[in-house]
Structure formats: C-alpha cells, structure tokens
Amino acid sequence: MKTIFLNEKELLALLASWCETFDVYAPNDGKGEDAACSVIGWGKIASKEEFYGVLPDKIAKGVHKTSIKPFFFPQPETLVTFTSDNKPCAPLANTVGQKRLILGVRPCDARSVMLNAMPYRDDPYYQANQNKTVLVGVGCNEKAITCFCEKTGGSPLGTDGLDILITTLGTGFALEALTNQGDELLGSQGAALDEALLAEFTKRRESFAADAQKANSTPSLKGKDLMSLYQSKIWQDLSQSCINCGACTFLCPTCYCFDIQDEAIRKDKGSSNACACGTGGCACDAPSVRRIRYWDSCMFPLFTKHASGHNPRGTKEHRVRNRFMHKLKYFPDRFGALSCVGCGRCIRECPVNIDIREVMTTLLAVD
C-alpha cells in the first residue's frame, strides 16, 4: 500500500476526479434529497467549495452530528417484498446502485463500520452496502472535549475500516492507502513521501499508536468480573435521571439493533412502489407488502416485551444496565472489542448528560 503526498490544489483535483465514478458524500446539515440514500446529516457533494470543507485542516473539530451508520444500516431498509398472494420476492439484496464514496469520515466512525460488520457478518444487506462504499477518512488534529477514542481501542489517526486516510503533513497532506481499493483510487497521483516527511509521518504514527495503546481500557475492562456489578447500585443511580429515550442509541455509530415490520405499499404513492431488489425485472413488479427493518433501541420498554406481556427488561434500570453492559461487557465477550468507538455523540446529546466515560471509570474501579 502506498502513501502519497499532495498539496491542497492536487488534493482538491483528486477529490473532484472521484465524482466521475462515485456518488460522493460528505457531512452537511440536513437530510440528503437523494432518493437512493437519504442519510440525515450527510449529502452528495460535487462542487469545489464543498470539497474544500472536508479537507483535514478545514473540517470542524470532533465528530459530525450524525454518524455514517445509515449508509450501511438504512432507516428503514426493505428486506423482502410480497405480492398480494403472499409470494415473497427472492432477489439478492440491493446490490444494485451506484458505488459511493464518503469523504470526511473520522477514524472513530470508520472503526464503527468495522465493528458492526462483526454481528452483521452474514447479513447480505449490510455486506452489500459495505461492498459498494469507499470510506475516505480524515485524521483528527485536535480532540473535542467529548472525544475518547483511545480509551476504546481507537486512535485519532486510526485506520480501521477506512480505505484511505488523509492527514495534514508538512505543508500539504498525506494520503494513505489502506485497502486495495484505496490504493487503486490514489492511482499514480502525487509523489511518495520524501525522507523528511516520511520520518515525520512515521514518528507521528508511532507516537499516536503508543498513546492509544496506553489509554486503551479494553484489556482492563475485559480483565474485570463485570457481572459482579450486575446488582450494583450504580445502575439505579444512572437510571434515575435517564428518561429512556433513544437519542444515545440512535446517534451511536455502534448500536445496531433493529426491528422488523411489515407495511402495506400504497400503489398510488410513488416512491415506495419498488421491489426490494430494485431491478424491476423480478416476478413481483407489483408488490403489495414490504418487510422493512428499522432502528430499534434497547432503551425502549417494547424492545423485549413478550406477546404475553412479560418483560425480561421491564424497568429503566434493566435497560440502562443492558446498554452499557452490552457495549462494555457482552459485545467484548463475543467479539473481542468494545462496542464503542469513543465518538462522544451520546455524551454530547444525552438530554440528561449520562456520560459513558464516567460509567467506564466506575466499572474499571471494581476489584
């Protein structure tokens, strides 16, 4: 894999050239109007001014308001459609559609895509969405007060999940290819790093890696008997102020739970009249029902409620505990990494300021 050096002008030209083969997305304020992909807070860009905004030295500090999760896990996503005589349409997932490239991705967000891919390993929809997406990250020069990626196993210059990472270097930018696809995209652009830049680049990488390793609480959390805290009073204290909304889970890049529901398709209302396959050529050009999946949150009482009325996680305390234990204990038990990338969105937006960093500190303090 190569690392190249570009000045600002060259970088802008390279970004613009990607628009020819990809739909290029970057952080924005609203909801994308793009029919194929409407992601709150991310939109298609094409103009030079917009590219300027995603350069590593121009992009706002910290993470963007919303994560890139909906690119991989759309809200909602059609899984299957049915004809009026209950026949399912059986094409493969939405493999069709233009390849897309997302710019301005922070390393923590990119890492979340990789982490979510673990439970979604056999999910054709997630995989298809991932296969058609190229992630171009920007390294963080500065941390926001809510950032704590190192604590969770990431780093401000982390490369997990990215195809290309752009960082400021000297008077220009270093572009690091991290996958074959990234390597291809960089093509024969720019020059390799000269000796002085390479030394600076390598030194910075090493020092960041060392810092990240030191700060990482994953090993210490995994070393603790967290189940001994299951009955602890901390959950009661935390849940006392929690209002049990889903702001944390829905803004969280690593929360991946969903619900499935059937909806009638209204023939006369245009947009949702297509079959899940999107080819238009399948047996069910006239689906009458679509089965969608949409985000769900373990914070909601309904999440675990049985049809009988019994609810295994019937109280707020249960649910608050489950959210943190899932991120810091259950997920690591199963997949080896914390289900948290330290982006800090939940801390920033929680209406009652529940701070996962404090929860981690409390858990780490247990003997």
Partner: protein
Amino acid sequence: MTENSFEPKIIAFLCNWCSYAGADLAGVSRFQYPSNIRIVRVPCSGRISPPMLFSALKQGADGILVSGCHPGDCHYISGNLFARRRFALFKNLLEFAGIEPGRVNFTWVSASEGERFADVVSQVTEAVRQLGPFNRF
C-alpha cells in the same frame, strides 16, 4: 390525469345515531350525492380520535369527513361536545402544519337531514376535487 377527471377518495366517519341515519335517509329519499365517500360507522363522533384520521390519510384518502349529531342531540348526551373541542383544535393544528383547510372536514347531520347530508357530501367532494390528490404523506 387532469384536474377534472380526478375522483377523490373520501372517508366519512359517521355517528351511528344521527349522521349514519341521515345518510340512510338521503338514500331512501333519493337525494343524489357523489359516490366518492366510503362510510365508516362509529358509535359517536366522540369516538373519533386523530390517529384514525391520520390512518385514513396515510392509507390513501384524499379527504375526510367527520359527522355527528348536532350539539345537544347526542345519543350519549355529550359525546359530540367533547368531540367539538377536539376537532376545533385538531383542524387548526393540521392547517398549521400545512395540510390544506379543505382536506379534513367536520359537520353535524341529524337523522332527519338527508338533504343536508347530500349537500355536505357533494360540496366536500367538490372541494377536495379542487384540491387534487392528497400527497402530503
């Protein structure tokens, strides 16, 4: 589809005791009215809650008509009076959010007002026809 050939679908929620009987009388008396309405019979206009009206709109209705007994005539004494407060606020809220004023209509039709029923339906249908298909959601 031109404006004139558009035939709106209108869901009419009629109370069992007055308006439904009024509709019946309109039929028996052979007052003609457009066939655009689909009637849902409810025990009382007080039974109608906003979620029902949204369901109708979401599932493809172009207009809505809710009709109950005239104030003072409610079979359950005061159901329509509670409903009147609810509808006053609800209609305003819908319009505030940008739903056209003519989409959702409320009226009173008694069991003896077959003619009024036919008038209401004709005029509501015409108003909704003018508005065109409901495509807000």
